[in-house]
């Protein structure tokens, strides 16, 4: 790992100022995505600004018909949260199967979202649930937030402070994980609120994406069999040693059906 300066931020303003003041600063939350990248020397920040102890960034609360999750809330905390389990059980279940136990103990929702790994689980939830990403300076709709492979709409010094999830009528996530890495080769989150049905896919493409054809079919009839015969094209999907694009495309339909059955 290359050398860097370390700062512990005491507030959001403090953190943003520290990154702004550095030549190539980066926020450090749980580090479960960032540290592996640094160890491989695939990123060489001049400064790391730890936000993990900023109290206001941690925790879950309900605000009207929204569930608010602070950026440094760990996956384990989301999975165990009685509020999440009560209001969006599909999200709690998703968090319960991110990575492995130790990763869930350190990894945070803000860190995962900002890292925008194409195979991460949370992006599917954010897009399917129509979440809003709150940063230190603005609110960004999930669909506008994930812009590409490891790319987001965030400015370099912009800090995710929370994710706001509208509470759906029902939702569920079905994941097909890589046996080696345990990352999603294909993860599908479905949500339903009235006639609004969303299907979001992670792991299969360069970034999370929705499947309008499935959404339409499910809006008409929210049952797994509604997806019979609907498949997506393999053309723009990822293809690697873990799974071909064709297989991923097949899995999207299978996982979507399973998510609908579980919702």
């Amino acid at each position: 790992m290359k050398e860097f300066h370390f700062h512990r931020a005491s507030s959001v303003a403090d953190a943003v100022a520290a990154v702004k003041g550095a030549s190539a600063g980066k926020f450090l939350a749980g580090g479960q995505s960032l540290l592996p990248v640094l160890k491989l020397e695939m990123a060489e920040p001049s400064d790391l600004v730890s936000i993990s102890r900023i109290k206001e960034l941690r925790g879950v609360c309900v605000d009207g018909n929204k569930l608010l999750i602070g950026a440094v809330t760990t996956h384990a905390e989301v999975a165990a949260s009685s509020e999440v389990k009560k209001h969006i059980p599909g999200l709690a279940a998703l968090a319960e199967h991110i990575g492995d136990a130790q990763v869930r103990n350190r990894g945070t929702i803000g860190g995962s979202v900002a890292h925008a790994d194409p195979a991460a689980d949370y992006p599917a939830a954010l897009v399917a649930l129509g979440a809003t990403i709150k940063t230190d300076r603005r609110a960004i709709a999930a669909e506008d937030f994930f812009t590409g492979l490891f790319e987001t709409a965030l400015e370099p010094d912009e800090l995710v402070v929370a994710v706001h999830f509208p509470i759906p009528e029902k939702s569920a996530y079905a994941k097909f994980a890589s046996h080696a890495s345990k990352y999603a080769l294909c993860g599908v989150m479905v949500s339903k609120t009235g006639s609004d049905v969303r299907v979001a896919v992670t792991g299969a493409g360069q970034k999370v994406f929705r499947v309008p054809e499935m959404e339409k079919a499910l809006a008409a009839r929210f049952e797994p069999s509604a997806l019979d015969g609907i498949s997506i094209s393999a053309d723009d999907l990822l293809s690697d040693g873990q799974a071909s694009a064709e297989y991923r495309a097949h899995l999207v339909t299978v996982m979507a059906k399973r998510a609908v059955a579980a919702a």
């Binding site: 046996h179 080696a180 890495s181 040693g241 799974a243 097949h250």
Partner: protein, 793 residues
């Protein structure tokens, strides 16, 4: 050996070695730090095949903290020898195999990704790593052949000019004419082509080595993650550095798993010792996992075609196998013995097939060397046999178990057509036990239950045999082994009656400290706690060949028993004197030397004391002291065998195979500690199922390693397995004093074909007839899609 009364033989005693591992006080090589130690990191080739045009180390040498930078030129200038191969295999025509050089640092042409090009030695590891980036190497990249199929293709890039067609050797065994005659009269000839997927051993402790030089005594020491420190001393001293044994000490402290990969002598070991002498300071190297992937010897990687001739009733008439085996770019220590003497000789399996012929073409590729990995050749043989037997049953419309039983060997000793002589076994007994444990009679109801869940269920069998404790030395020597394959032991009785046992085998998870202590305590009739087992240090142990091929108990244990026999024999002489009786009248029983037919006796401790305080002692005829050594050279291999039964469920939507049940009924001979034996079984089964369903080392066409980390190489996890059901039926080995056969590898040998046979059984209704390992979800899904497609046509 005495095994009567309150026996420790067969007792599931919790292990002596556990406490240090459970409390974090084990001492693995990377836990050791030497005074004034430096840190080495290796520059490794990013290319599979390239000419080194130039190499500039000046910036690296000038970097902060750097003590030295060495390249292949420095190794050559110091006349450091190459890493030798331990087994010379002959071609069909009697000529020698091609044996290319294997320099510790490569000077001219790199031949696999990870080939070591230079070493940086610095005050800290971070400094060494930083300096490594400053070495400039200009490569002229050449075309590569990474797979067996690529290497044997017409016009394939050559790994070595002296090996046309990339052929290392072309070997055969068996009676070709007899096989051809059998095929001529066959009712049916069943054919199969199988690939044994390339595996990466992945012991959880990455390899590490520390070289140290004591100028005062002109002594070199190597601490290393080895399964056989004496063998490393022999190869490093005699072949690589030209240092006599008495000036070279090799220590293998606690070692975190080996599975074969830590048998071999590696270049890094040679470099740290050589460099330590050059700079006059200890040099430490610890592999990062990514380095392990590209520098530990890999396993398996064979392509076999086989034909089985059968008569109308399902009797096997003849069996013929052609094996193309990947050696990698260089010949690792035992690489050449694996497809030949460990695999080719096993091609009869448990069947009385009268004629067997096997050919092996070993080929070089631009990949990491391939060598023994848990099972070493025997899984490959077992796999082709047990797959083709299933296929024969299907083609003849016979029951898969009936065809096996029809061909079982039932009279012993049995001389196979491929050079082995099985001393004992009872294949019907282990089969019956396995069927019982697998609850086969209720299997149909489980198929129905799976069906209701939309899943396909399959059951698969493997009635395997293996050969352990490779021996005897005279035979293997005649076959090309460059080492003896005996084992040594020293049993030192201390004056107050406690015992230190020095064994040339090495324990890196197998529990020798416990098993051997049980063995000795039982034989001497002394408490288990009075016995300490010492291993892993060439300065403490008389000699040793180490641990591999499931040999430790049957060969190493036998050496210990022989040494204890000598202790008892000497004890009798001392006792005869003290008890004023004839030596012939002294019996040793339950820890006492007794004058036969009397109640006159001396306890073992009293004899030990007399031996070291010889005040009243037969000093004219018996030397003081009670310390004996023995070497044991087995008369034959041992032959564990058994039946493995695997039940799987296939999700036809995703292709996911779930392992529902694993049964292993084995005959591993006499068991000293059943808890440890079961543990060995479990581990072998997991690795075998790992090979069948998950693990595969993949190179792309250019020779880049695509599965170079745990992100891409599928390691089995806890959730991949059910609880294993294991059991034993013992027939004692007839030619060693313990009756043990060996258990370390049986799981990895027997279970892969049972697993794949189960997958194929599940998929049979869909028309799928073949699948190659590993049966990953995508591969299974594709097989289902293809079968559906061909059915639709």
């Amino acid at each position: 050996m005495t095994t009567e009364s309150k026996s420790l033989i067969g007792a599931p005693i919790a292990r002596k070695e556990d406490r240090r591992f459970l409390t974090g006080t084990g001492r693995y090589t990377d836990d050791l730090n030497r005074l004034h130690q430096t840190h080495a990191v290796f520059l490794r080739s990013p290319h599979a095949h390239a000419k080194i045009v130039s190499i500039n180390t000046s910036a690296a040498a000038a970097a902060p903290g750097v003590v030295a930078v060495y390249t292949g030129a420095d190794i050559a200038a110091d006349k450091v020898g190459g890493i030798p191969c331990g087994w010379l295999v002959k071609n069909k025509d009697g000529s020698n195999m091609v044996e290319p050089p294997h320099p510790a640092l490569v000077a001219d042409v790199v031949r696999h990704v990870g080939d070591q090009v230079a070493v940086v030695i610095a005050e800290t590891k971070a400094q060494a790593k930083a300096a490594l980036n400053l070495i400039e190497v200009e490569y002229d990249v050449l075309p590569a052949a990474a797979t067996v199929r690529d290497a044997v293709a017409e016009g394939a890039p050559l790994v070595w000019e002296q090996a046309p067609g990339n052929t290392c050797f072309d070997w055969h065994l068996g009676d070709l004419a007899a096989v051809e005659a059998a095929f001529a009269k066959a009712h049916k000839i069943v054919e199969i082509e199988v690939t044994n997927n390339r595996l990466i051993p992945n012991a959880m402790e990455p390899r590490a080595a520390i070289g140290e030089y004591d100028a005062a005594g002109d002594m070199l020491t190597l601490y290393t993650t080895s399964q056989n420190p004496h063998l490393i001393r022999l190869l490093l001293g005699a072949f690589v550095l030209g240092v006599p044994e008495h000036k070279l000490r090799v220590v293998a402290p606690d070692v975190g798993g080996g599975f074969g990969s830590k048998i071999f002598h590696y270049a890094e070991e040679a470099v740290v010792v050589w460099a330590a002498r050059k700079i006059g300071r200890p040099v430490k190297w610890t592999a990062e996992r990514s380095e392990s992937f590209m520098s530990d010897a890999h396993g398996r990687d064979t392509v076999m075609t086989a034909k089985l001739a059968v008569d109308r009733e399902g009797n096997f008439l003849g069996f013929r196998v052609h094996n193309t085996a990947n050696m990698g770019a260089y010949l690792s220590t035992f690489a050449t013995a694996v497809p030949t003497y460990l695999s080719g000789t096993l091609m009869a399996g448990v069947y009385k097939t009268p004629a067997v012929y096997v050919e092996v073409r070993a080929v070089f590729t631009h990949t990491v060397p391939v060598d023994a990995y848990r099972g070493a050749g025997r899984p490959e043989a077992t796999y082709v046999i047990e797959r083709i037997v299933d296929k024969a049953a299907r083609e003849l419309g016979m029951d898969r178990l009936e065809i096996r039983k029809k061909n079982f060997i039932r009279t012993f000793p049995y001389k196979t057509p491929v050079a082995l002589e099985y001393d004992t076994g009872d294949y019907d007994a282990t089969l019956a036990m396995a069927l019982e444990k697998a609850d086969v009679k209720n299997y149909p109801s489980r198929v129905e239950a799976s069906k209701k869940r939309g899943k396909l269920r399959g059951i698969g069998y493997s009635t395997y045999l293996e050969a352990c404790g490779i021996a005897p030395s005279a035979l293997v020597g005649a076959l090309g082994a460059r080492a003896g394959l005996y084992e040594a032991a020293n049993v030192r009785v201390h004056p107050t009656g406690s015992v230190s046992v020095f064994t040339g085998t090495h324990s890196h998870g197998q529990g020798h400290e416990t098993t051997f202590a049980q063995l000795v305590a039982q034989q001497l009739g002394i408490p288990f706690d009075k016995v300490e087992v010492v291993h892993g240090d060439s300065d403490k142990i008389p000699f040793g060949m180490g641990t591999y091929g499931s040999r430790s108990l049957s060969v190493g244990g036998s050496a210990i028993v022989k040494a204890v026999d000598k202790i008892i024999a000497k004890g009798k002489k001392i006792a005869a004197h003290l008890l004023e009786a004839g030596e012939a009248d002294i019996e040793f029983k339950d820890g006492k030397f007794v004058v036969a037919g009397t109640d006159k006796s001396k306890a073992f401790g009293e004899i030990a004391f007399a031996a070291y305080v010889p005040h009243n002692y037969p000093i004219d005829t018996v030397e003081p002291g009670l310390d004996e050594s023995a070497f044991y050279d087995p008369k034959n291999f041992t032959y564990p065998a058994g039946t493995h039964v695997v039940e799987v469920e296939v999700d036809p939507d995703t292709g996911v195979v779930t392992v529902e049940s694993v049964v292993a009924a084995d005959d591993v001979g006499v068991i000293i500690n059943p808890m440890i034996v079961d543990g060995q079984m479990h581990g072998g089964l997991a690795q075998g199922i790992g090979q069948a369903l998950f693990e595969e080392c993949v190179y792309d066409e250019s020779g880049q390693l695509l599965t170079g980390s745990y992100m891409t190489y599928s390691m089995p996890r806890a959730a991949d397995f059910p609880m294993f059901k294991v059991g034993n039926h013992v027939t004692a080995c007839t030619h060693n004093p313990i009756g043990a056969k060996g258990v370390g590898e049986v799981g990895a040998i027997g279970v892969p074909p049972a697993t794949i046979n189960a997958v194929l059984d599940a998929l049979a209704p869909l028309g799928v007839t073949d699948i190659q390992m590993p049966a990953t979800p995508e591969k299974v899904w594709r097989a289902i899609v293809a079968a559906k497609g061909s059915k639709a046509q």
